[in-house]
Amino acid sequence: MRGYARARPAFAVIALVAGTVLWAALPTSAARPGSRPVLIVASLCGALTVARLLTDPSAAGAGGLRAGPGGGFGRGLRAGLRALPWAEGTTVAVLGLEVLHPSRPWHTVVLGVALIGFLLALHLAETDAGPAVLRPQLPLLAAGLGLGVLSVGAAALPAAGPGSGWLAVIAGAAALLAAGLALPV
């Protein structure tokens, strides 16, 4: 029972990454050409994210004792899995998959919520922490969700309307803000 409780975050990550990739890929009939390779890349990155999580000895669900140096192939595999940011790759590939579909604002915002959920669940699983540690961020997430809903409304405006130019400017400024936040602390 305790092992199940420890493995629950890993199950959540698996469910969220699979759901996110599927949500972005469906319906396949409406997707533009080139969506299939992106779907493969997204699935691969998602699988490797889960593999990295499951082979991380300090992550949730990892019980028992682990050995020191000398693990040969297993050690090399773990190092290879840890070398690349598979979660970020999954995020970009899923967004790419969504772009290859015609505009569907509600669908995209739900995808955004799922992606945030996936990243938070992955962080909790990797750090073996409970959901309570994210409590300070709940108001911010709620505000972000509200902005997402507003963006759905904005998307309903005519594409060549007077607000679209401003939107591009605001989005550009937000991109600069995000880049500034990414600078090393």
Binding site: S58, T91, I116, A171, A175
Partner: protein
């Protein structure tokens, strides 16, 4: 007993956490797509990630205090130990600890305790003085957007070999005059029945054997065997170590020596040790728990404080009292040790050899040609014959050689010599 080590102040370097990197990637990718494709919903998709990234400026200490304590500094192979660590100076965020184990150490997950100490279980898998590994401390700020990592070296742990089980002891026919627990051939005040004899004035009446007295018509008395201690010297040969690590000749030899020492000390015998490794080291025979600890320490730790083998011409007299039983645990690969055994036999010591050779030289495994393979087979056969000859010559001298593979206890191996007293034929 827990002894906390000194408190160390360690500098912390902060950087973006994995969560922050993922959120930045999500926000940047979504905003770029929004600008390029002019799809507003992607900007909305980036909004939660951007908002979560905003408040990442929070108090992050430049240094924290780390205190490390060992649950126990001495363990036995396979026994679980605990490292305790306490991190002070980081109150606003979370702290995670991870033990990176060194070779032959298995590490478990860290568990924070209510008393502020984190407990990190580990298990030493092979005897010796072993470094436990490195402690990695991962600090997260309150918003989990910044992460600080620091590494702390952990102390060494003394891992004692797992003593091999030994219930029956090899006992000499002639024992020393010291009181002990082995029944001697001479009559005395022990508890083992030796026979009956006629009563003489001065004998204790409680020892009268009434059935025998009734049958013979004269007063008969029970006699008992005297109980004496034995002096046992264990000669541990770890000069050559062959075989797979964990099951090598040195591993088997130290486990056998630890089992022998524990069994003989438990029988209140005087036990000594001669370690025939890189140096010649020895402990003169004595009894008691402290002697057992000294022997275990010498078996487990190669302190390098002995006499260099090149400077020693014969085994130390002080470690070989007359009448001692010498139990040699060796793969018999050192011809110098074999010569020493012959010398011991000539000096009249009762000696028994436990042969722990469990591997053969890896000759010809990479050879391809049939002629080379035949030469390798011949070399291996010659080596086997040489080993057989060494063991045969020892048996001819009156030194029994028994083989032990480490899989079972020593009782089965030593059974032919534990069911009867070992007679010195000098």
């Amino acid at each position: 007993m827990l002894t906390a080590g000194p408190q160390r102040t360690v500098q912390v370097t902060w950087r973006l956490s994995g969560l922050a990197r993922s959120l930045v990637t999500l926000a940047l990718a979504a905003l770029t797509i929004a600008v390029i494709t002019r799809r507003t919903e992607f900007a909305g998709l980036a909004a939660p990630a951007l908002l979560v990234l905003i408040p990442r400026q929070s108090s992050r200490p430049g240094a924290v205090s780390v205190t490390v304590a060992e649950g126990a500094s001495r363990l036995t192979e396979g026994e679980q130990g605990t490292v305790l660590a306490r991190i002070a100076g980081h109150d606003q965020g979370t702290t995670r600890l991870r033990l990176h184990p060194a070779a032959w150490i298995l590490a478990g997950p860290a568990a924070p305790g209510a008393d502020g100490w984190h407990r990190l279980p580990f298990r030493a898998e092979r005897w010796g003085l072993r470094p436990i590994g490195t402690l990695e401390v991962i600090l997260n700020d309150r918003w989990r957007l910044a992460e600080g990592r620091l590494l702390v070296g952990l102390p060494q742990v003394t891992c004692l070999p797992q003593p091999t089980r030994l219930d029956s002891l090899v006992v000499l026919g002639k024992l020393s005059a010291r009181l002990g627990e082995h029944a001697a051939r001479s009559p005395g005040e022990g508890i083992e029945f030796a026979g009956i004899r006629e009563f003489v004035p001065g004998d204790r009446q409680r020892r009268i054997n009434w059935p025998a007295t009734t049958r013979r018509g004269t007063i008969q008395l029970n006699t008992f065997a005297a109980e004496r201690a034995q002096v046992t010297v264990i000669l541990l040969d770890i000069r050559f170590d062959v075989g797979p690590p964990g099951l090598s000749t040195a591993d088997l030899a130290v486990r056998a020596a630890a089992g022998l020492a524990a069994a003989y000390v438990a029988a209140r015998d005087r036990v000594g040790l001669i370690s025939f490794g890189r140096q010649l080291r020895w402990i003169s025979p004595a009894g008691g728990r402290r002697q057992a600890d000294r022997i275990m320490n010498m078996i487990a730790i190669d302190s390098g404080d002995g006499e260099p083998l090149a400077a020693v011409s014969r085994l130390p007299e002080a470690a070989l009292p007359p009448g001692a039983l010498i139990i040699v645990v060796s793969p018999l690969l050192s011809l110098r040790l074999v010569e020493s055994l012959r010398e011991l036999r000539e000096r009249g010591f009762a000696t028994i050899v436990i042969d722990v050779l469990c591997a053969e030289p890896d000759v010809g495994s990479g050879l391809i040609g049939s002629r080379d393979r035949a030469a390798a087979r011949l070399a291996r056969r010659l080596w086997r014959m040489e080993q057989d000859a060494i063991r045969f010559s020892l048996r001819e001298l009156g030194i029994p050689v028994v083989r032990w593979d480490g899989r079972s206890g020593l009782d089965e191996t030593l059974a032919p010599y534990t069911r009867r007293v070992l007679v010195n034929r000098a």
